[in-house]
């Protein structure tokens, strides 16, 4: 009952504030400065840090009112979804003061500098080094990072670097907020097998970062990184929601559309990466392949997989909503997505036959089918390989023993690693 009273008073308050403050003719930054000042942009953040200290469910009420008013919210992208929660959880007050506001206003965008050519699944095996400068004021960073979205226009990078080589791998890492616009940082687009360049590789040559920009303690970066990774799954959902939202007229809307377009630009091939199960039946009918009994079997198998995956997600969600302990069904979504994508790739090939040889303007569906075939291999790698995911499922869900680790208790200096 108390909650409902709260919800109603929050609703009244935010509604009144939006009526008084929301103006689509403001510039996007001007509007978001109001969001930052009032705390309504990030209602679940603490009151002293640009928020209103509301519970998640009350923050949902605020989001509903924003949607009802058609008001633009905080920016999508890695700043809000990854950097800000990490800074709030682990950053010093000085960092919160310096970094959070630019994230909320959208003036400062962020990228992630985690993966490296030599450390993919084994992120904690990273070898980018950060060494204290002789005067002790800053760290000097050398190494190479990979798979960074938006690194070419980001103001800051969430950087993981090794600051101590004499302790086991998880204990020698520090998490920094790195200024990207400096001579020691060079971002280059990384071209993928499907021809797109959605990510960057980032070269760090004597890049500099003040000691005060360490998020969390020096040497405690792994714990901080886990906080970021915990938010990563939610971030793509937020992005999709942002991409859906903007239709109105006015300067703030126009600028937001441009912002979303920039954030979403790297992801045009993501639907194809997932396999495009939605195209299967239509393609089979258009080509007449739906009359082939073998093709029919394969289509039925694929669609069974896709439908039952949806039902599995519904079961997981229902259990969550009822507050029941999560069952195994909640941990399998990523593995099912890989299976669906691969099955789609097979069945699209079966349907398109020799036309699968062709791409671009000559390819079926103006190249979409070809893009599916050469994008699907990403699904089972991005965001953690299927093999790692199976380890996690078998250990955490099924309770099987961990396999013995050879690197966890040794000084990282002595652990075998990839040659540069």
């Amino acid at each position: 009952m108390g909650d409902r009273m709260d919800a109603e008073s929050v609703r009244r308050e935010v509604r009144a504030w939006l009526e008084a403050s929301w103006n689509p003719d403001l510039s996007l930054v001007e509007w978001r400065k109001r969001l930052a000042d009032s705390g309504w942009g990030c209602p679940a953040w603490p009151v002293e840090w640009l928020g209103r200290g509301l519970s998640v469910s009350l923050a949902d009420v605020v989001a509903e009112e924003f949607e009802r008013a058609g008001a633009v919210g905080t920016p999508g992208g890695g700043g809000m979804t990854l950097a800000a929660p990490t800074i709030l959880e682990h950053g010093s007050d000085d960092l919160k003061r310096r970094l959070l506001r630019g994230i909320v206003t959208g003036e400062h965008t962020w990228c992630q500098l985690f993966s490296e050519p030599g450390s993919g699944s084994d992120l904690a095996g990273l070898t980018t080094r950060a060494e204290l400068s002789p005067d002790g004021d800053e760290f000097i960073v050398n190494g190479q990072k990979l798979w960074s979205t938006s690194a070419h226009h980001a103001k800051y990078g969430m950087l993981l670097a090794r600051t101590n080589w004499d302790v086991p791998k998880h204990r020698g890492i520090t998490y920094f907020a790195l200024e990207m616009h400096q001579p020691g940082v060079v971002a280059k687009p990384l071209r993928q097998m499907n021809g797109h360049a959605s990510f960057n590789e980032v070269f760090l040559n004597d890049a500099r970062v003040p000691v005060a920009n360490a998020i969390g303690e020096v040497g405690n970066g792994w714990t901080v990184a886990l906080a970021t990774l915990a938010h990563e799954r939610r971030s793509f959902d937020a992005l999709r929601a942002a991409a859906r939202s903007t239709k109105g007229k006015g300067r703030a809307y126009d600028e937001q559309r441009a912002e979303v377009a920039e954030i979403m630009a790297p992801y045009t091939w993501y639907p194809q990466r997932a396999g495009r199960a939605d195209l299967i039946v239509e393609r089979a009918k258009a080509t007449g392949r739906n009359r082939d009994p073998v093709v029919r079997q394969e289509i039925a198998k694929l669609l069974s997989l896709a439908r039952s995956t949806e039902w599995t997600a519904r079961r997981a969600k229902a259990a969550r909503v009822l507050g029941r302990p999560p069952g195994p069904e909640g941990s399998l979504g990523k593995l099912y997505a890989s299976e669906i994508a691969r099955a789609c790739s097979r069945v699209h090939t079966l349907i398109s036959g020799s036309d699968s040889l062709l791409a671009g303007a000559d390819g079926p569906l103006d190249g979409i089918i070809a893009e599916i075939l050469v994008s699907v291999p990403a699904v089972s790698i991005a965001g953690g390989t299927d093999e790692i995911q199976r380890n996690i499922v078998s250990e955490r869900v099924l309770g099987l023993p961990k396999d013995p680790q050879t690197d966890a208790e040794r000084a990282f200096r002595d652990v075998p690693r990839n040659r540069r």
């Binding site: 039925a300 069974s304 997989l305 039952s308 069904e329 093999e387 199976r390 099987l400």
Partner: protein, 372 residues
């Protein structure tokens, strides 16, 4: 549509599981599978009188508990888990549904209370030696003579056909389509031969009809829709039974992988084994989602049932068999012995794969039903 079981449904599951853990341990399964009748009358009586399970989804006016297919599916899932040897699937999932779908009010009132009370063991005879599960495969003929209907022909793969006291038979009615008929197990003109089944925990029989007298169930000649609905419901229910067996296989296998030591480590710490177990879990959870959804459709979304029942049957069959095969593999040489219980589930999985139509058949049905 409910996506999470109610507390009452969870309670039903706990009740049935407790009962079966006590009454149907592997030792009992092994004893009963060697007997010709294949079930323990004392346990059947308790299951009927104390738990009321044969009547779980039969309406109260016919002597049942009046619950739904979801509850029936829960009972079957638990029976699949325990590999219960009992005439439950034949009597409730097949015969009772056929009577509910095809019978007149008077016929339902006459036939269902006995099934609901567990006093009448019933079954449904559909397939013939040609092995088909669609209406087109039915050749057994029903003729109307001066003294009523007579049946001539042969049925095979009849679940619990040698012990059933009430047999519902799908037959071709000369000139007018399909009919469902019923007669007593000991009727004149009916010869019953138990078959040697690959899965000894589910008994099969061949029935030969030579002018056997039978009563029509509903209007003779118009039973095709009722038969199809019955088979869809039965497919959805069998899918749930399979999920129970598959979960038990996963439990047994994971437990074994945790405790079996080779090369100085539990084999479950090797990724080759872990990944197999993760794959087993994936197949199981999809099969579970489909089976549960199909049962829910049988209760609340009859238009969706035909496609979803076929989906669940095909997917459940593939999953159960995959889990059984991988379970044997992970158990290694021991998995191939008679002493280890895994083969009992493997045989149930193989038999369930084929009963009511194999996955290829059901996927084609699915394609048709989805308009592909």
């Amino acid at each position: 549509m409910r996506w999470s079981p109610s507390e009452e449904q969870d309670e039903l599951r706990r009740l049935v599981r407790r009962f079966l853990e006590e009454k149907s341990p592997a030792s009992e399964v092994r004893r009963l599978m060697e007997t010709p009748e294949g079930y323990e009358p004392g346990v059947w009586k308790q299951l009927s009188q104390e738990l009321g399970l044969p009547g779980v989804h039969i309406p109260e006016k016919y002597g049942g508990q009046g619950l739904g297919f979801v509850e029936l599916a829960i009972a079957l899932e638990e029976m699949g888990r325990a590999l219960l040897c009992a005439p439950y699937f034949a009597s409730v999932a097949l015969a009772a549904n056929a009577i509910l779908n095809a019978g007149t009010e008077a016929e339902k009132s006459a036939l269902l209370p006995g099934i609901a009370a567990g006093e009448t063991l019933a079954t449904l005879a559909v397939a013939e030696p040609n092995g088909r599960w669609d209406a087109g495969g039915i050749e057994l003929e029903a003729r109307r003579g001066t003294g009523g209907w007579t049946l001539s022909g042969e049925k095979s793969f009849v679940v619990d056909g040698a012990t059933a006291e009430l047999i519902v038979v799908a037959a071709r009615v000369a000139g007018s389509g399909l009919g469902l008929f019923h007669l007593r197990g000991g009727a004149d003109g009916l010869a019953r031969r138990p078959l040697v089944a690959l899965d000894p925990t589910r008994k099969l029989a061949r029935l030969t009809f030579k002018g056997a007298r039978a009563e029509s169930l509903g209007e003779a000649g118009g039973a095709a829709p009722a038969l199809e609905k019955t088979l869809d419901q039965a497919s959805a229910l069998l899918a749930n039974e399979m999920v129970g067996g598959a979960q038990k296989l996963l439990d047994m296998t994971v437990e074994y992988a945790k405790t079996r030591v080779q090369f100085g480590r539990p084999i479950g710490s090797f990724q080759a084994i872990k990944h197999k177990c993760a794959d087993m879990l994936m197949a199981l959870e999809l099969a579970r989602s489909s089976a549960y959804y199909a049962a829910a459709c049988a209760d609340g979304a009859p238009d969706e049932l035909p496609a979803v029942a076929s989906l669940a049957k095909a997917q459940g069959s593939d999953a159960y068999l995959e889990l059984a095969a991988e379970s044997i593999q992970i158990h290694g040489g021991l998995g191939f012995t008679w002493e280890q219980d895994v083969h009992l589930y493997f045989k149930r999985a193989k038999a369930s794969e084929v009963l009511l139509g194999d996955p290829t058949y059901h996927r084609e049905l699915l394609a048709q039903r989805w308009g592909i």
